[in-house]
């Protein structure tokens, strides 16, 4: 297995987990278990107090005493009021709970929020990255291929966008949007804002790749043998740009994930009750809370893991393509 495939599988696994949030999370991320705020992570047992080994793992209800509640797999969630919810990978009967990563201040299951929040934060990163790369690829190709005043105009615009203090721009744009946006629209606006603010860097890079590709012998040869501009672009120049774009993606996506987390951290991302890693990390701002309740740091830990995975992926991709000298794509 090459490093590229290994890291790609790692990144893919993270996305598979957050995409499967509906099944993998034991609870709805918005449900407030108001009698269990800041509950520590559940302890799942196989051996009970009397030393008996249970085949099926179990939890206790409140403290480590009382009756045992077996963990049921692929079972329907049962609410405290007895109503039957959707099918979950793990479920226990009330009054016991299975808070794998504890609960937050409002008694919401931290593990479920981590998965659903990952969907928002990682999803926003991928979508914004795709948007920025598409715009960048398009404008970069056009600028590099046509040159002249088109090139000058696109590059001037990219200079302008790169000079903007993007974080403040994001904050300003998000604050100017209407107050009562649904979480879906809020996510869309965050993605669009990040994507549009971020096209300049990939555009410049792709332009330079296109510029160098255009003067390669095989491209000149193709042009001499009468290939149309469109054919030159699609068949000869784009493939070269594409591998660079892929490396770019592995750098941009975690960056944009971080941008979404930053926005949510400042309360400008998707609003409550939809979780995002940013809003979850915000709770850690309050030192007195995070010091005594370490499980609130779960989203930060997840963010570190994802960032490292992407870093490894970028490294592997870079090793593989060597199209450009090291450092040029950073």
């Amino acid at each position: 297995m090459t490093p590229t495939i290994r890291t790609a599988m790692g990144v893919g696994a993270v996305y598979a987990i957050v995409l499967g949030a509906a099944l993998l999370s034991p609870y709805d991320p918005a449900t407030q278990h108001r009698d269990r705020p800041l509950a520590p992570p559940a302890r799942v047992h196989v051996v009970d107090r009397d030393g008996r080994v249970h085949l099926r793992p179990f939890v206790y209800a409140d403290d480590e005493s009382g009756p045992t509640y077996p963990v049921r797999f692929f079972a329907h969630e049962v609410d405290e009021d007895g109503s039957i919810g959707s099918r979950r990978l793990l479920a226990v009967d009330p009054p016991a709970h299975i808070f794998l990563a504890g609960t937050d201040e409002l008694g919401r299951d931290q593990f479920s929020r981590l998965l659903y929040g990952g969907r928002i934060s990682l999803g926003a990163g991928v979508l914004a990255g795709a948007l920025a790369l598409t715009i960048g690829l398009l404008l970069g190709c056009v600028a590099g291929f046509f040159g002249g005043w088109i090139d000058a105009a696109v590059m001037a615009a990219s200079d302008l966008f790169m000079a903007l203090p993007w974080l403040y721009l994001l904050l300003a744009i998000r604050a100017a949007l209407p107050l009562d946006v649904s979480p879906g629209r809020a996510l869309a606006s965050v993605v669009i804002v990040i994507g549009i603010a971020g096209w300049a860097r990939p555009a410049r890079l792709i332009r330079s790749v296109v510029l160098s590709a255009r003067t390669r012998d095989y491209v000149t040869a193709a042009a001499a043998s009468g290939a149309s501009r469109a054919r030159l672009m699609v068949a000869h120049v784009l493939p070269e740009a594409f591998s660079v774009a892929l490396t770019q993606a592995s750098i941009l996506v975690p960056q944009y994930t971080l941008a979404e987390i930053t926005l949510s951290f400042f309360g400008l991302g998707v609003g409550e009750p939809t979780p995002s890693w940013g809003t979850m990390i915000n709770a850690m701002l309050r030192q007195e809370l995070s010091a005594a309740h370490w499980w609130l740091a779960a989203p930060a830990a997840a963010l570190v893991v994802v960032s490292l995975l992407y870093h490894a992926a970028a490294d592997a991709l870079h090793q593989r393509s060597q199209v450009l000298p090291a450092g040029a794509w950073r």
């Binding site: 409002l106 009562d180 009750p273």
Partner: protein
Amino acid sequence: MAVKRALASAVLAAALAATAPGLHAVEHQPAGEDLMTIDGEVGTSGGALVVAARGEPKTLNPLVALDAQSRDVIWRTQADLIHINRETQRTEPALAASWTVSPDGLHYVLRLRRGVRFSDGHVFDADDVVFSFGAYLDERLHSPQRDLLLIGGKPIAVRKIDAGTVAVDLPAPYAAAERIFDSVAMLPRHRLDGAWKDGSLAAAWGIATPPGDVAGLGPFRVERIRPGEDIVLAKNPYYWKQDRARTRLPYLDRVTFLVVPSEEAQVIRLRAGEVDVLNRVSAQHAAALDRDQKASSFVLQDLGPGLEYHFLFFNQNDPAPSSVKPKQAWFGDERFRRAISLAIDRASLVRLAYSGRGTPLWGPVTPGNRLWANAEIARTPPSLDAARKLLAEAGFVRHADGALADRGGTPVAFSILVGAGNAALNGMAAIIQDDLKRLGIGVQIASLDFNAVLARVFESHDYDACLLRLVDGDVDPTPAMNVWLSSGPTHLWHPSQAKPSTPWEAEIDRLMQQQMTTLDGGERKRLYDRVQAVVADKLPLVPLVSPNIVVAAKRGLGNFRPAVLEHYTLWNVEQLFWRTTGRSGR
């Protein structure tokens, strides 16, 4: 008759309080010095106290000070004629040893305490009083206290009768007249008259002024200011209070305000023993401090609810932005507002958003206001059924998917505006969102920068509903007039109305005006009780929680009796003393 009786007894009490220590004073103090004796544990002199401050004061000038840091320092170094005792919440003699009131309540004659000197040794007399009021009322200075000295838009008049007596004439009857003297510092004419004449009084006594040029009548005087670091106050040797053993106060030699900008850092400094007093600890920090209190050198005191109340209100402005307009049919319906109030689980708000350190509220006056809170207001428990019934009565229908819609079929959804910095308010918003979801109401939380929240509420009126907090300046209802009068600039849900837009707002207007001029205390209470009952019934703002005032101090601080009126911990700083002598080195 009742009016006269109340007044007579008040005057009598004041006279007694003033003369009793005066009689002793003649025998034991230098001739003509009329020290005020105060109750409390008799302490030992010496030692220093370190108090955490959020920032440095912007000025030492009582005329223009607006920020809390400046006022915290100024009120340890200045004094007023009649003072509101933070503990009893009632007025008591201060620099005015006694006073009489004319039967119509318009004319006060105040007898000044004899032999009082400023911290620079200069004698205090009626000229200083006339000078001080003249400065506070000077329009060019824009003093924040000026408004409080206007009654019905006209200023009070202060005249000198002789060196030890002043007359104060009110332009209209004013029930809380004694209370307006509180927090009006008596300034030294000999130091500030020149600045007033040449127009530089507002800029006088900045923090760059040499401390020796600043004089006051408070228990301490400024000794040193190191910008961004600390402010050191030293004992005023001329202070006019003594304890029961006739020791001149204050006991402490020094009080230092140590600048520690964040609450996190303040808590850490308290734990490390570098700070002796925290004037306010938020609910979240209190929970953390509480855990290790037993083994530590400090005590945490929960004083219960203060005068701060947190509430939800709906935009009822007219005109309103077009995005809000369609929703105002709901917001304007009192059954809708009542249903919202019924759906909100206040006990959960207190437990989850305030770590249990708060008091659920159903009326606008907190139980911390012992003299004025209406105890009759019903503490209705949350009930989704009752809320649903009210909504059905008001024509709202619940669809099969659970969503609520109005008569026209529009789904009921609105946003709640909340300041991003306040963790407790944001926690409340998330709980209310969940509570209202059970009614089928969709709520979006819009967490914005606090200034943006204020701009939307007071200027653009571009919001649906808002979670906000207010702190009453005094227990007396009159300073809260700007909130309750429909013409008031802080009549939050619909400020500055030309004429009251609802009959109940007209009723509140009438009641509030009436209580301001009624001199009978019992009648005033009845009037204000009615205001509270109307607000609790019509719910222009839905009262939710009053956060408890939690303070912390190092163990062994004598006479430490924190109160729920500002300044919570240092209101009796002249009486504070260390029970152990080990601290005098500081």
